[in-house]
Symmetry: none
Subunit: 132 residues, 4 copies
């Protein structure tokens, strides 16, 4: 079980609608159960440096099977995973906005959002998750 | 002038329809005038190694303002640009499937297709271009 | 709208004059609206490790549409973007010296300065900005 | 002995004039005796993929103390250095346009040109060299 392109587009559409409601253009990415990109959309005006971050928040959530917000807690100086952000060729993002996609118990992929504040990114990601 | 998300989606939709006609799942990517990803879609069953290639075919077309099919001719052993594929941190792809998007004389971005044969990729890219 | 070579040279000349006044040789870089290098100058005696930093401070400011000094505040341990410095293939610099170039409301590029203290770099960058 | 910023600017100005004569916008880069960038200029309209190539042609000429045109001959399939373009983290460019800068017998740096055909790049580089 994984995430189809149709699934990814439904998730992205929901996230995009939420980002429009907030009024903050976002990069939105969905990866499959293998952590590989299924679809990406950069809303007009969203930051170009956030392309890489959105894709890699989704990758990170799936790579460690936890949200990037949770990973962030463990990755601060003094924490058990401090330094993890330089592993995996720099693909590990340790702040909010990357969330797993599940069908029942099964992880089928992840969504990554980047473009706003950490709270905005997380809220948009959660909206996307609910549309799966 | 650059390529909006709406433009990119129209281009991707046309390319996707052509890929379905051919019966070969593809990765489809569109970059803006700065070479930065606007949108990407991986059709169900398309190869995961082709994600990077589709995105970077689009980047390459914009980076050198020529199609990757044309660049390929100059980049063979003994040709004037042999070796260019290792420049730009490995982002330069030197085979068919990356084509510029223009509005009149103006370059506004590029499309990159990867998933089938060179001829299939190029045909799908050209179909996308016509939808801009 | 973007930043021409003539614009970049005017910005660099102003920054260079300020660096000479301070008495600290600098690397000075200007990128366009796409984040791509337009011009770079390393003043005699400026540090070679600062070449990459100046270019990437300019890239970073444009990538996130904020100064690197502002980004620094959000990127400290415990902050909402801690870890962002390892994204974008190591091109994100999170200390002062990268500032956006604007024409009216429009972002047309960015300047990056590296070679002195954070305060010196920022002062030289701001002088460059005013010459656009 | 090395190449000063003033030297680099004189070399770049000469190369730029030649590129204007040819009518082909170029990226022009000068590195010092250590192979490190002293100055870069991208003429308006020059390709963004050629920034990296111009800088690294100059690096390559100094790294191997020969022109990139000469290196190209030895780096073709079957040649003694085939594959060298993937060494040095992808910084080695193996086609014409990178030429050493000398004062008498002494190597003081190198120039790298990218933006036109191999012949155009080489011609512009040679013009720059003569201005040292």
């Amino acid at each position: 079980m994984t995430c189809s392109l149709e699934d990814a587009r439904r998730v992205i559409a929901a996230a995009e609608t939420e980002a429009l409601t907030i009024g903050q253009p976002m990069n939105i990415a969905v990866v499959d159960a293998g952590g590989h990109l299924v679809a990406h959309a950069r809303m007009d005006g969203a930051r170009i440096g956030a392309i890489d971050i959105a894709i890699n928040k989704a990758f990170t959530a799936r790579a460690f099977d936890m949200s990037t917000a949770d990973l962030a807690e463990h990755s601060q100086p003094g924490g058990p995973f401090f330094g993890i952000h330089s592993s995996n060729n720099g693909r590990v993002i340790i702040f909010a906005g990357g969330v797993l996609l599940r069908r029942g118990e099964q992880i089928v992929g992840a969504i990554g959002i980047s473009g706003g504040s950490g709270e905005q990114d997380e809220r948009v990601a959660q909206t996307g998750v609910q549309a799966l």
